[in-house]
Symmetry: C2
Subunit: 404 residues, 2 copies
């Protein structure tokens, strides 16, 4: 049995017209003799409307009842898709988590799928049926409804692909795939045909617009090929797969950039164990998201400088927290608004010497000053003046031949 | 354990404000040391909106998927009620049909509850919890979702009252109870404090505005006391119970009337077995609802006259069907538009002689001509000119002292 998992996001089932359209996409896979498992999100807007109602009922709505409430949205979408396929003469039905069942563990609102019973669905697939499975939902050991917190219906699709050993998991969404850089920032941005899980994870904002990192990580761990594509067009999407599947002559795969960051530097921090933790613990408690962190070795073995970036909107709060924290000894607090992080990502750089140099030279030729540098295996990030963002994107996009 | 079943209709949970209000009603019963089982319909409008969607998907929407689709409405309402009770500090949770389970038999869209497993709910009640059970829904032997066709959530409430041996089943709705006659037609109409199942069934339109006849019949068979009351006011409602519970000095309990009926008479019908069936079979097939049927004995043993009433909008169709039906022999077809059926209903008439006479005299004194008469054990119906409806209602309401 050649199993393929098709997952449709909220916008792909947002209207009756859209549902009729995706019913055709599903039939086409079925005609190609695939055994098709469909996973659906709720129609777009429905989940938010249900959450709005719950907030009107209580500012501290029960987590267990939240799961009962919001999971109704996927139930409706699955019924409508199955109803349309039946209308078109296909054998199809909706499957709710408790009917399969799909078991989760962990707390309500933030459960993780840990087991999917295969017997009923396999029997149904063998009989020629197309199961339309409600994404996002599961049941726990007490037979209560649960929802998958991070990743939502994407996570459901990846786990179904894993348990049913699917050939491929196709994520239908409202974007055409993953791009070399944000098409809103650079008109030359190109859709990436194939990308590794690792690159996708390092692409941060570029990637997470398409799929939640937790689901990419699940796919990576289970070696599931994912294709991300738009349900609004017939174009090819982006294939996310393992590195060894990728024959690529490009050194880097994509460039991501941030907006409106601020850089904070603590000068002359006492260099002793636990100092970084004591700086970041209160920030994390106050829900301040720290992005890039750079610390140099101590020149004198006693003191070091520590730099990190945050969203500019969190700057005042951050300064206050650091100043009021008596656990940290430092000589001076520096900060700078209006910086931007530019990252080049690509598995190609592992085997290609001089990528860092190429990047720095390309920026230097455009007279763009680099403030901070941080690198990983497949990613190089630099901080520059926000006003140079576009210039840097154009230069790097050209340097690494991403337009082609 | 003193169990009481509280059922809330769609208008009673129609808005968040209403849900907050009924949460208070539920708490009050709980404070009185009742073990409370709550049954809820979907928020008003929700079911119709889901049905509208299904019709857009297909003019022949799958019955099984219809049940999956519409039962989501009760799931949402139950979560919101339970969520509010939890917010108020009570122990409560939603229970969906599959979690209890509530088993049904019969086809999708029109199932009947035939078994309710009690263990989990009894355990939950004993732990002090208030279960909020989704009305209207059940599961069948294949673990598919089903819905209870006739009676809907009322039927769920009555069956829960039966299986859990509830002291009482309280139906919260948007009317205050059952009235002696339609308050829109007669300002003097009074709310009936107590009425028997049989009277309620005979009250036809008056009763069915409040509760579906099938649910009243279920309650009658299982001897379940029902109280119908409004969730919008704190007033006492109407108790529907068995005859022997009623101490009543009134001969009749209520008066119902119809609007815009037409009377059809077949004169000189051959009096042989099966003739009535051959008349009504084609009408039934064409979805024409025949109300009152009167046939006199044959004067000559060969021919009889047969009269029945229908809605005036069905008159032309009815005439056509009868004329085209070669199975029926009759001499003449008479019809009259603009008649009204007035019925007096009451168990008191069984033990009170002369009720028929009293009714006829009251109408005669107002010079209202009686066209056709039909009686049952606890009901007397007459056909009169539509224009005399209000005059008749006033006269009879006064004659049988219903204003007091």
């Amino acid at each position: 049995m050649k199993i393929v998992v098709l997952k449709f996001g909220g916008t792909s089932v947002g209207t009756i017209t859209k549902i009729k359209k995706i019913a055709k996409i599903i039939s086409n896979y079925s005609k190609k003799r695939y055994s098709v498992i469909v996973v659906s999100s709720a129609m777009s807007g429905v989940t938010n409307e249900l959450i709005r109602k719950s907030k009107e009922i209580s500012n501290n709505y029960s987590d267990a009842e939240y799961d009962v409430l919001v999971s109704s949205g996927e139930q409706v979408a699955c019924s409508l898709i199955a109803g349309r396929l039946v209308h078109n003469g296909l054998k199809s039905r909706s499957w709710l988590a408790w009917q399969i069942p799909i078991f989760t563990h962990g707390p309500h609102k933030n459960s993780r799928i840990n087991n999917i019973y295969k017997t009923k669905i396999l029997k149904y697939l063998k009989s020629g049926g197309i199961p339309i499975i409600a994404g996002f939902q599961g049941i726990n050991n007490e037979e209560r409804l649960t929802t998958v917190g991070r990743g939502g219906s994407d996570a459901s699709a990846i786990m179904l692909a894993k348990f049913f050993k699917a050939r491929r998991c196709i994520i239908y969404t409202d974007v055409e795939g993953v791009f070399t850089t944000d098409p809103k920032k650079l008109i030359n941005a190109k859709k990436i045909k194939v990308i590794s899980y690792e690159e996708m994870l390092e692409m941060a904002s570029l990637g997470s617009k398409v799929m939640q990192p937790v689901s990419i990580q699940d796919a990576r761990l289970n070696r599931i090929d994912i294709e991300v594509k738009s349900s609004f067009t017939n174009k090819l999407g982006t294939l996310i797969t393992k590195k060894s599947n990728i024959i690529n002559n490009k050194i880097i795969t994509g460039i991501s950039s941030t907006n409106n960051d601020s850089k904070v530097t603590l000068v002359g921090v006492k260099d002793r164990p636990g100092v970084a933790a004591s700086i970041f613990r209160p920030l994390s408690k106050n829900l301040i998201n720290v992005d890039m962190v750079v610390q140099n070795i101590s020149a004198n073995g006693k003191e070091t400088d520590l730099t990190f970036t945050i969203k500019t909107e969190d700057l005042n709060k951050t300064k206050k927290i650091i100043k009021e924290n008596n656990d940290i000894n430092f000589r001076k607090l520096l900060f700078e608004k209006g910086v931007s992080k530019i990252s080049i990502v690509g598995v190609g750089m592992i085997t290609t010497p001089g990528v860092t140099f190429k990047m720095f030279q390309a920026l230097a030729l455009k007279k763009i000053n680099i403030k901070v540098i941080s690198t990983s295996e497949i990613k190089i990030s630099v901080l520059i003046d926000k006003k140079n963002t576009k210039k840097a994107l154009i230069a790097l996009h050209k340097e690494f031949k991403l337009n082609k």
